[in-house]
Amino acid sequence: MPEPDPAHTIFAHGLTRSFGNHVAVNNITLELRRGEVLGFLGPNGAGKTTTMQMLTGNIAPTHGAVSICGIDLLERPTAAKAHIGYLPEVPPLYRELTVNEYLRLAARLHRVPRAMLAEAVTRVQQRCGLVNVATKLIGTLSKGYQQRVGIAQAIVHAPDVVILDEPTIGLDPNQIRDIRGLIRELGGTHSVVLSTHILPEVEMLCDRVQIMHYGSIVYSDTIAALKQFERGATIVLGLRRPPPPEELAAVPGIAAVERTDETLFRVQVSPGADPTDALVSHAGARDWGLYRIAPAQNSLEDVFVNLTRREDIQ
């Protein structure tokens, strides 16, 4: 089994969790380094929340090991948990407490020393825009403010690892912008795991992305590589009277041809070439019946849909 190096804040290997006969999470690996933001994607029921619960010590894995900042979460849970801040899908808010009381409680539970309590609470309230509602009861706050209190609770003790389960759900566009700004800020000093369904959010905020499907990791790459992949162009070509693929592949500037449908082709362009003109003139001259030519959108959304749809059909 690989060993974590000191830069790893989360190091989880062979993580498996089953509920009875149902395997919710199957042998996944998750590594996170200091200052990194990891986007954690997957359709509903893919096992994201279960994974996050395992990373935060809320449930124990059936197999596998998790270490947080080099501390084994299963052997020394309290020591490891001190480095984690967690915002679950439903923020764990006590409606009967005021924002101040609640954040003080969260800070105390996470072992912020008494002398630094007031300072930590004030700082996190400024950071999350809660100063104006500090003395209000949490139960009377709007959903957006409650979500912010949830985030504040997760970062009040300045943890090394922040795990956020769908933090922007149910917020209005302005609040989403604020929260995204906050997450970007957090990414500078902490490591963040961010689960979300909003794909542009991941492209905007994350350094790396992992996609989970049916309990397994089906994609793991950096956003930079994904963007690179996007530029390495492919063209989608629709021909009513298609020639054999070999004939198409012979057009200059084309690296590979893949037939995706009766009349549709995905054409891989050779690096640096632009075969669009050649394709159009060939199609005209040889009567291929060209009805569609478009650069393929190889965005995160495509990757996501491709990976998580394909297995549904099987």
Binding site: N58, A60, A82, P88, V90, Y94, L97, L109, H110
Partner: protein, 256 residues
């Protein structure tokens, strides 16, 4: 850490109407019994004076008030304890404590002590009623102290059992009904078991059965006897059920 959790429990209790309703109802019931007994005591006083060793106000007025409080606890402790774990699970707020660097033992102890502090307040209120007679009559402070200690131990026993049942389910009302049933069963079956075992002269088994019968452990205190065996039984019961509760929380983390 234990104090933080206990303090939060107390704060939450007083922020909810449940605590105030429970305090009011308990006070009303105890007040009624107190006044009724006091009335009887005043009427009987002339007859009592003729006895060689007449029972005092503490025996005739205070003891029934504490007995009533014990009965009221049977209903209120399960209701208060259902909030501790079951309701927090249902509201998904338990995650805050579970994600924090706090051990299961500390969680259970914190929750238990928070509830116990509230119950001790009720015990103190019960003690204030007979104490109000101090100006008018000679109170038996020894018996009164025994009653306070006995009721406190009873409250601790009920709280420990109810905290454990609160760990068993996510449905708060189910937890409360379960606790109530468990306490009632311990009271009725415990008594019957001890009698039956004693009749067969299985004395050791009878003594062991007393651990599971909180009311039985309260009885010597109500008579003004400091029975160390009863104290040990009550403490053993508390430790036993708190350990079960901590184990249950840990098991849910493993099996979920």
């Amino acid at each position: 850490m234990i104090a933080t959790i206990a303090g939060k429990e107390l704060k939450s209790l007083f922020a909810s109407p449940l605590a105030w309703v429970v305090l009011t109802v308990t006070q009303l019931v105890m007040g009624y019994v107190f006044l009724r007994r006091l009335d009887d005591f005043l009427q009987l006083q002339s007859q009592l004076a003729r006895l060689a060793n007449p029972p005092g106000a503490t025996e005739l007025v205070a003891a029934p008030v504490f007995g009533t409080a014990a009965g009221v606890f049977l209903f209120t402790v399960p209701l208060l304890a259902m909030r501790l774990i079951a309701e927090e699970r249902r509201n998904q707020t338990l995650v805050l404590i579970m994600s924090a660097p706090v051990s299961m033992t500390h969680i259970v102890l914190g929750k238990f002590l928070g509830l116990l502090a509230f119950l001790l307040l009720t015990v103190a209120l019960a003690a204030l009623m007979p104490l109000s007679l101090a100006a008018a009559t000679n109170l038996d402070y020894g018996l009164l102290a025994g009653l306070v200690a006995g009721l406190a131990l009873l409250a601790a026993s009920f709280a420990a059992v109810s905290l454990f049942t609160s760990c068993l389910t996510v449905h708060p009302v189910a937890a409360a009904v379960g606790s109530f049933a468990a306490l009632l069963l311990m009271m009725l079956a415990g008594e019957a078991a001890i009698e039956g075992l004693n009749a067969r002269e299985w004395l050791l088994a009878a003594s062991l059965a007393q651990v599971l019968s909180p009311i039985k452990n309260f009885e010597p205190f109500a008579k003004g006897v400091l029975d160390t065996y009863a104290v040990a039984c009550a403490l053993l019961l508390v430790v036993f059920f708190l350990a079960l509760a901590a184990r249950q929380l840990e098991a849910q983390r493993l099996k979920g």
